[in-house]
């Protein structure tokens, strides 16, 4: 198993022969924080498989306001539109946590799918899981209070980052959750008083991960189970 496969679960799930067909077209890349990988209505230039980075998907209104509707890390890819035969981006893909990824041109990925085997099947199953994540995110905004939503989001971020300490500003989290900065500050205070996190001037540290999960809404568990089932 090559380093690329080992660090991205979707690539690691491909049978060796099928991975070998795709491998010559995979290029390692560094993703910078805040970088826009693609956005509507532009064509998607590359499909990205994060290894230790995190990519957010944003839905935006014409006035520029919006919120995160999904995110992906080492468990998947950004650019499912390509798998579905669509060339243009349907949402903004932005780098939420800087790090490494591998990328492939859409035509090369489509060609790999068309050669038969299980590659296409794996990619479509991931697409389904991502659709579940996005659907649940919409319901979560409607039904759940910001305290549970922030706890859920922190769990999702923590899962994909793989470490307990990270930099996150109130403004960034407010933009991701589609809530006001004041709301993030007050909820973060509650999480801190409950001993679940330590937070000071942008430096976050997860202190009690099981406790944070209990604080999160059930949307966290629903989506996690969907993604975990991909790799059973």
């Amino acid at each position: 198993m090559t380093p690329n496969q080992a660090q991205n679960r979707l690539l690691a799930a491909l049978p060796p022969a099928e991975y070998d067909r795709l491998a010559p077209h995979l290029a390692p890349v560094k993703l910078d924080l805040g970088g826009i990988l693609y956005e509507p209505p532009d064509p998607i230039p590359y499909v990205y498989f994060p290894t230790n980075s995190i990519i957010s998907f944003l839905a935006e209104l014409p006035d520029g306001s919006g919120a995160e509707i999904g995110l992906v890390g080492y468990e998947g890819l950004a650019g499912v539109e390509v798998i579905l035969g669509v060339e243009r981006a349907s949402k903004v893909a932005t780098v939420q946590a800087a790090g490494d990824a591998v990328r492939v041109r859409p035509d090369k990925l489509r060609a790999a799918c068309q050669q038969g085997g299980v590659t296409q099947q794996h990619l479509l199953r991931f697409t389904h899981a991502l659709m579940v994540q996005i659907s649940v995110s919409v319901l979560c905004v409607i039904r759940h209070n910001i305290d549970r939503r922030l706890a859920r989001w922190l769990c999702m971020y923590h899962d994909r980052l793989g470490r307990d300490e990270f930099l996150l500003t109130h403004e960034f989290m407010a933009n991701m959750l589609g809530i006001r900065r004041a709301g993030v500050s007050e909820v973060a205070k509650q999480l801190q008083l409950a001993g679940l996190v330590d937070y000071e001037r942008g430096h976050f540290r997860i202190l009690d991960r099981p406790g944070l999960e209990r604080q999160a809404c059930e949307c966290y568990r629903t989506v996690k189970e969907e993604f975990d089932a991909l790799y059973v």
Binding site: N145, I146, D147, T169, H170, I179, R180, R181, A182, G183, S185, E186, V187, A188, K189, Q190, Q192, L193, Y199, E200, R201, G202
Partner: protein
């Protein structure tokens, strides 16, 4: 300072955001304050009418409005309630850059704009403004 019968300072919170209001209220209560609520400017002015509002500090947090507008609302409430200018007014800014992050700016008299960069900055400012022992907070006339 007015303090209620349980010795708690009273904060009049004018918070337009339905999502944020319960969380701020909960945190203020946990910090030992009695919280009176208004959901917008009209509601706040109605409550201030008649001089029956008794609070030690006004905290304003408006949605998609400038800090100048929030100051105007807070000052209008203070005048309608017939408080004198020493009753502290705190406006929580929403849109701001790193140049002011972490600061509490006095904008005249006992009026403040806070630009929090951590979760306890507002709490520290409130504690400073609501220290007991002198006549910083004023009753309605």
């Amino acid at each position: 300072m007015s303090r209620d019968s349980a010795g708690q300072p009273r904060i009049f919170l004018i918070e337009e955001d339905d999502e944020t209001r319960p969380v701020i209220r909960q945190n203020l209560k946990r910090a030992g304050y009695k919280v009176l609520l208004a959901v917008d400017e009209e509601d706040a002015l109605d409550r201030a009418d008649g001089g029956c509002l008794v609070v030690d500090l006004i905290l304003v947090n408006l949605v998609e409005k400038s800090t100048d507008e929030a100051l105007r609302v807070g000052r209008a409430v203070r005048e309608r309630a017939r408080f004198d200018g020493a009753t502290p007014l705190v406006v929580r800014a929403e849109d701001y850059g790193p140049d002011v992050e972490g600061t509490d700016v006095n904008v005249g008299g006992n009026d403040w704009i806070t630009y929090p960069d951590d979760s306890d900055q507002l709490g520290r400012l409130l504690r400073r403004l609501l220290k007991g022992g002198d006549a910083d907070g004023h009753h309605a006339a």
